[in-house]
Amino acid sequence: MKKHTQMLLTTLLVGGFTACNPLQTEEVIDPNYPSVGAVTNNATKAQLDGLSIGQVSIARDGIQTYLWVVGTLGKELFNFNGTESRWLTELNGLRPIDNSAFYNGATTAFGLPVRQANITLAAVNNTNSVTDREKNGYRGIANTFKGLAYLYMLNAQGSNGVRLNVEDPFKPSKPASYAESLTGIAKILDDGAAQLDQAGTAFPYTLPSGYAGFDTPAAFKRFNRAIALRVAIYQADWAKAATLLPQTFYSATGDLNAGPRHTFNATPPDRANPLLNTASSQIVGVQQVFDAAEANDKRVGKVRRLATPLTYTSGVTYSTPYLTNMYASANDPVPIIRNEELILIAAEIAAQQGNAAEATRHLNIVRTAAGLPAYAGATTRDALINAILKERLYSLFYEGHRWVDMRRYNKLGEIVLPVAGMKVLERLERPVAEVNWDVFNP
């Protein structure tokens, strides 16, 4: 009896074992996201649209850290960050700069847009699901944002340069020199412009509302050429700049704020405007900058004068009554490049090419708009350049230009130091991971 029961049980056990083989397992496919591999071969139009929209979206990556870091380095604004004193101490040379700190983001955050563009370009080259015109539309957008991302990266790194070839993340090129980097960025933008020329009359999908007026290949190219113009003036290639200017959306009579902009929305997968002041992070205007503004300069409205100055006491003591006033809502857009900058570039080209009248005319467009009298200073090249740099300080406040402008004219030493002992750094350090990669992969 017992024997029989045991045999029965054993049979059941063995039977159960073989019926559903407990040793068999199946590969687990990522239950959360699609894979990069899915778009590299025969991508569909919807996938290419997704990559291109992603490109437009992540063009906003890093602008927060970039604008705050570059603004601090140029002593136009400070980040009164109650929980992070390194914004004021290390970035102003009061404590040693760190190559592994959060402010590396001003360089590294622009790596992903470059990779996004490279993946898009590869995906476009390896599919038959769209027309050649549509392909060139995707390519033109990708190369424009790739050039823009590289330019931010290069601004932060200065003479350290950038890696121009990163298609294989395990075999990136060594950083090029500053001049080579600018040349490489110009080439990327030029490629984009040429592709936009071959992209027909409409993009394969509708760009977001921030690109209203720039949402056809021809119009988008004017944005592309505006970035190329920035590169040209950084190269001090005034002849090329003069050629590029009319290809941009420059308009001496147009709205100074015209230009493509980043839009925001707090509801995911979109994101909120990252430049809003919060309880722990208040972006303030440097007092010395705004105290020095001419009377009635409307551009001082970019900051709000508080009755009680804000005082920062962590690691360094500094007071200023000027709190930035440019962004109030999570949906406020942030400009990428504006007509006001193009007009000031026009003035700069003219000054550099010895055309004082044209330079003064452009200066006065901006001054008049700011409610200021016409320029009455000297009209030597140097005087005009100084005047342009000053207008750029107020016109392009919080847009990431002061430090870069003063550096390209070797005038970092002329930046007013708000606190004794502060220094103006010439560039950010190469991030530790960049250094280590080259040490390990000579």
């Binding site: 017992k2 045991q6 056990l13 074992f17 040793l23 397992t25 199946e26 590969e27 990522d30 239950p31 959360n32 996201y33 894979s35 990069v36 929209i53 992603g54 979206s57 992540i58 906003r60 960050n81 109650g82 929980t83 390194r86 040693p96 760190d98 190559n99 700190a101 590294t108 790596g111 992903l112 847009p113 470059v114 990779r115 996004q116 990266m153 890696r163 990163v166 993340p169 990136p172 760009l207 977001p208 980043h262 839009t263 929305n265 707090a266 979109d270 909120a272 405007n273 002041n277 309880a279 722990s280 006491t313 962590s314 690691g315 809502s329 999570a330 530790v432 991971a433 280590n436 990669w437």
Partner: protein
């Protein structure tokens, strides 16, 4: 059930055919060293499977005793004894010595087999319920491990009730890419000990934007297990002991066995603890003067200071928030009993522990039923069911970027600012640029985590063969662990910090569903050869484990006043995450025991897991061990040396890649109502392999003077290969890292446990147990660039992963060579030079018992950002003094320290914010108990009450430390990270607990 079966196996193993001479009866009493009767002791005639068990008065009667023979007397917790019977002897009274070194305890030797500790070839730490919960009642089980396990580095993440511990056995076994915490198995069920994110670090921006963060400061889910249910804990610290657990065992295995019914008279046990907790120390308190404001802060606040001092509203807010008293209550009611066929253990408990901070606390309701039943002589089964509800208010401490955490706002809050609410209950805004009122957060914000959990285990044993020479048992066991967690974070929209937000108010509802199940089929064959002198046990089987995790949250910001439902926010964000994996293992093991003199074992396990890139590949994990009980050979018998065991063991284990390591994902980033696809900056690795470890462990166990002095010395060398490391790419490529098998490391260490019955008399006995251990880790291969990880940048110190150095080495600014960006200053190692524990147990006047556990950790390095907060805020206790090391006697320490960093001339760190080396000595546990004598109970209650014990106890009542950079050097803002866990930032004071206990058995 397991023990029961084991007895059968052992008995059948030692069964011998002997001549039966009829027939006499043997009876007597079994007592302990103090003369107290031992109920439940076993008396077995050697060479037979016949025996008897003592009753409540320690009495036994054995019939059919052969004319000549030998009996073995044993009881759990005592050293067993063998005695020859005289011709015609009919009575035998025995006194058993307490088994202070747990030599008689049975511990696991394989997935289906056990071995007596005295025959074990590994240094397995065994904690019984007395060691675990006998002194004081811990909040959580892992909290009760501190100072009791040689070779363990256990750090509490936070002092908030509800747990949160980082357990590291024998150094570090992963550099972060595999499980850093040991595998926990409760009655054969693989249980989950994860820490599940609740969005707290998104709410306070400590890690803004991330879906899951190690900075959420959560409890690990072992907190759900009621420590009082535990009978024993076996800690398999290294690969040699844990090899048979294969692919999940790299960080060690903790095997928990819960209490089971022993049969006999039904006993009802009631226990009640009542206690309090208080902050151990404060860190702030510096006075404020007009001069201080003028020279170093904002002199425009002088009128506020004057007013507060004049009105008497000048308040030390740290003491207001952290100066509270937490109340502890813990109630247990258990029933055990049964008969020959059915035994049961049922225990319910309610634990309610409030923190020193108002509105923090931990509640746990647990009910467990363990039932064993014998269907027939060859078939039995057991089931273990445990349902747990836990409810944890974690409060707001740790890192923060918005002043919400009071651990962060208090260092900056000036005593002359009023924070108390007005008559209408409205909280004023904080002043001096501090963006939040800590009292408002404490009273109004919610950080709550609840968990509903079922642990269900089962075992079925079928003995196909069971005779005197051999037995064959088939076993099916396993179970499931299902938990459904619910966490709520709420920051009301009218809080000061929230009003400054674009969308004020933050609420997040997080649900986490975790399911683990495991089934094991095994066959165990035992045979007895050479007249019972050689016993062989063969076992083999298969294991299958499945885990899934489904978590999701809804986050709402822009909440209308008073609304805590996140779905009603202006901006609603959601997140869903899925994980699942299946592991399959095959194992076989052969154990041999020759006369308890030489005990050998070899085994192998093959494992595959869907977490590996090659999901269908089996990896092999061999093991082998040998123990030689030298004292059982020849002339040793009868000498002062009662035990002398040499042992050596080798084994291999592995650690699995974390879920998702193989995937290169396209994530989603949208703009203007369009959804875009964006590659993750982390690249998947489609060829990732598990991290593998091998360990050679050897040692010596000895017992002197009949076990009065015992010792256990172990040396080990654990090598871990193919450690998964992030290959950090140049981030400007758009790829920040990918995980590769890139490093090897070694852990070498020494563990020494001594035990001595210093005094053993009926009126006074003193048992002392010193434990000493250390571990040295070294990276022996690194195929990626050296890197820093953890912490908050090199200014404050980070963990350095570099070949030839310890992975827990902490380095930081400044660079020793300004031209070499990697020439960091070395500040020491997070692992202590050594750790030392001293357990004392003194019984006196028969019924009093005093015990104390001291734990000393020598020279370990701490990364602290706490002091910089307090110094910047002007509140550090010694801010106004001018006496810190190197200070000029004129500058306040709080100012001086902000600018002195690096090493001084003597090589010691300057008192700035760099890491520093500290030590501590803590009185972990102390207690005094009184057991009401049985005679008294009898005269008062008759036979109703069998046992009454009451006493007082405390945790961490005393502490000595040279730590000056925060509240307590044991702290971890980052939870259970393998590297980077121990960072003190925005923490709350360490806590001492004091309790009164009463326990009654009916």
């Amino acid at each position: 059930m397991r023990k029961h079966l084991l007895n059968l196996i052992l008995l059948s193993g030692i069964t011998m055919a002997t001549a039966w001479a009829q027939s006499r009866t043997l009876s007597g009493v079994v007592r302990d060293a103090n003369g107290q009767p031992i109920p439940g002791a076993n008396i077995v005639i050697r060479g037979t499977n016949r025996g008897a068990t003592t009753d409540a008065q320690g009495r036994y009667t054995l019939s059919d005793v052969p004319a000549t023979g030998r009996v073995q007397i044993s009881s759990i917790g005592f050293l067993s004894k063998e005695q020859d019977l005289g011709n015609g002897q009919t009575s035998l009274d025995v006194s058993l010595a307490e088994d202070v070194a747990n030599l008689e305890e049975v511990v696991v030797s394989g997935l289906a087999t056990n071995v007596k500790r005295s025959n074990l070839a590994n240094a397995v730490t065994l904690l019984d319920s007395k060691a675990l919960t006998g002194t004081t009642t811990p909040t959580t089980t892992d909290g009760a491990f501190q100072g009791k396990i040689a070779g363990a580095n256990i750090v509490a993440n936070s002092s908030v009730p509800g747990g949160g511990f980082n357990l590291q056995f024998r150094g570090v076994s992963t550099l972060g890419a595999s499980a850093s915490q040991p595998l926990f198995i409760v009655d054969g069920v693989y249980i989950d000990n994860g820490q599940y994110s609740n969005g707290r670090s998104a709410a306070n921006k400590a890690a803004a934007g991330s879906a899951a963060s190690t900075q959420d400061n959560n409890a690990n889910r072992l907190a759900d297990l009621n420590p009082d249910d535990i009978e024993t804990v076996e800690v398999l610290k290294g690969s040699s002991a844990a090899a048979i657990y294969g692919t999940r065992a790299n960080a060690g295995v903790v095997i928990i066995t819960t209490k089971r019914g022993k049969g006999g008279k039904t006993t009802v046990s009631f226990g009640q603890d009542v206690g309090i907790s208080k902050a151990m120390s404060f860190y702030g308190g510096a006075d404020w003067t007009e001069e201080k404001l003028t020279n170093y802060f904002d002199k425009s606040e002088i009128p506020l200071l004057r007013e507060a001092k004049a009105n008497g509203t000048y308040t030390d807010w740290e003491r207001v928030v952290f100066g509270g008293t937490g109340q502890i209550t813990n109630t247990r009611l258990g029933i055990t009993g049964g008969n020959e066929r059915t035994k049961f253990y049922v225990n319910g408990s309610m634990q309610n522990e409030k923190g020193i901070i108002k509105n923090t606390g931990f509640k746990r309701y647990s009910i467990r039923a363990n039932i064993d039943h014998k269907l027939s002589s060859w078939l039995d089964f057991g089931v273990n069911s445990n349902y747990i509800v836990s409810d944890n208010d974690r409060g707001w401490t740790g890192n923060d970027n918005s002043y919400i955490n009071y651990g962060y706002s208090l260092p900056y809050t000036k005593p002359y600012i009023n924070l108390y609410p007005d008559a209408n209950g409205r909280y004023p805004d904080n002043g001096s640029g501090v963006g939040e009122n800590p009292l408002a957060v404490r009273d109004r914000a919610i950080n709550n985590q609840k968990n509903n959990r079922v642990l269900q285990g089962f075992t079925v044993n079928a003995r196909a063969i069971n005779n005197e020479r051999s037995s064959l048992t088939f076993r099916v066991n396993g179970g499931l662990d299902y938990q459904n967690g619910y966490a709520l974070i709420w920051l009301p929209s009218d809080l000061q910090s929230q009003r400054a937000e674009a969308n004020p108010g933050f609420a997040q509802d997080t649900r986490t569903e975790v399911f683990n199940s495991n089934v094991q089929l095994s066959a165990i064959y035992t045979q007895s050869l050479m007249d019972g002198r050689l016993n062989l046990t063969s076992s083999a089987g298969a294991v299958r484990l499945t885990k899934y995790l489904r978590s999701n949250f809804v986050r709402g910001t822009g909440l209308p006043a008073g609304v805590s439902n996140p779905s009603r926010g202006k901006v609603i964000d959601g997140f869903v995450d899925y994980q699942r994996n299946t592991d399959v293992g095959l194992f076989a093991q052969q154990d041999a025991n020759f006369e308890d003199k030489v005990i050998g074992s070899v085994g192998i396990r093959f494992d595959k897991s869907t977490l590996n890139a090659d999901f269908d590949k089996f990896y092999a994990f061999p093991r082998a061990s040998l123990a030689v009980n030298a004292a059982r050979f020849g002339d040793w018998a009868g000498s002062a040396v009662s035990q002398m065991k040499f042992r050596v063991a080798y084994g291999a284990t592995a650690g699995l890649p974390t879920f998702g390591t193989t995937y290169s994902q396209l994530t989603v980033s949208g703009v203007g109502g369009l959804g875009g696809l964006v590659p993750s900056t982390i690249l998947g690795n489609a060829s990732i392999k598990p991290e593998r470890a091998t360990e050679l462990e050897y040692g010596l166990d000895f017992g002197l003077f009949n076990g009065r002095v015992t010792g256990e010395l172990t040396l080990y060398n654990k090598k871990v290969f193919d450690l998964i490391q992030p290959l950090t790419t140049a981030p400007t490529t758009g790829v920040t890292s990918t995980q590769i098998n890139a490093a090897d490391l070694t852990n070498r260490g020494l563990e020494l446990t001594l035990g001595a019955d210093v005094v053993r008399s009926s009126n006074f006995s003193w048992f002392v147990q010193p434990i000493f251990w250390y571990n040295r880790s070294k990276i022996t291969r690194l195929a990626i660039p050296e890197r820093l990880t953890g912490g908050f940048g090199a200014t404050f110190g980070q963990w350095r992963v570099k070949e030839g150095f310890s992975p827990t080495q902490i380095v930081g600014q400044p660079r020793t060579d300004p031209n070499d960006p990697r020439s960091w200053t070395v500040y020491g190692d997070q692992q202590p030079k050594y750790e030392l524990s001293l357990m004392n147990r003194i019984t006196f006047l028969k019924n009093f018992e005093f015990s104390a556990l001291l734990n000393y950790r020598h020279r370990f390095t701490v990364v602290s950002l706490s002091r910089v907060l307090w110094d910047e805020g002007g509140n550090t206790y010694d801010w106004n003094e001018t006496d810190d090391i190197g200070n000029d006697g004129k500058t306040p320490n709080g100012i001086y320290r902000q600018n002195v960093n690096g090493l001084g001339d003597n090589g010691d760190p300057k008192p700035g914010y760099n890491p520093d080396v500290y030590s501590f000595l803590k009185l972990r546990e102390v207690a005094l108990y009184y057991r009401v004598p049985t005679a008294t109970l009898k005269s008062v209650f008759g036979n109703t009450v069998s046992n009454v014990r009451f006493g007082v106890s405390g945790n961490h009542l005393l502490r000595w430390t040279n730590y000056t950079a925060g509240y307590d050097p044991e702290n971890s803002n980052f939870g259970s990270l393998a590297l980077g866990g121990g960072v003190d930032l925005g923490s709350s004071p360490a806590v001492r607990r004091m309790m009164f206990h009463i326990a009654v058995d009916f």
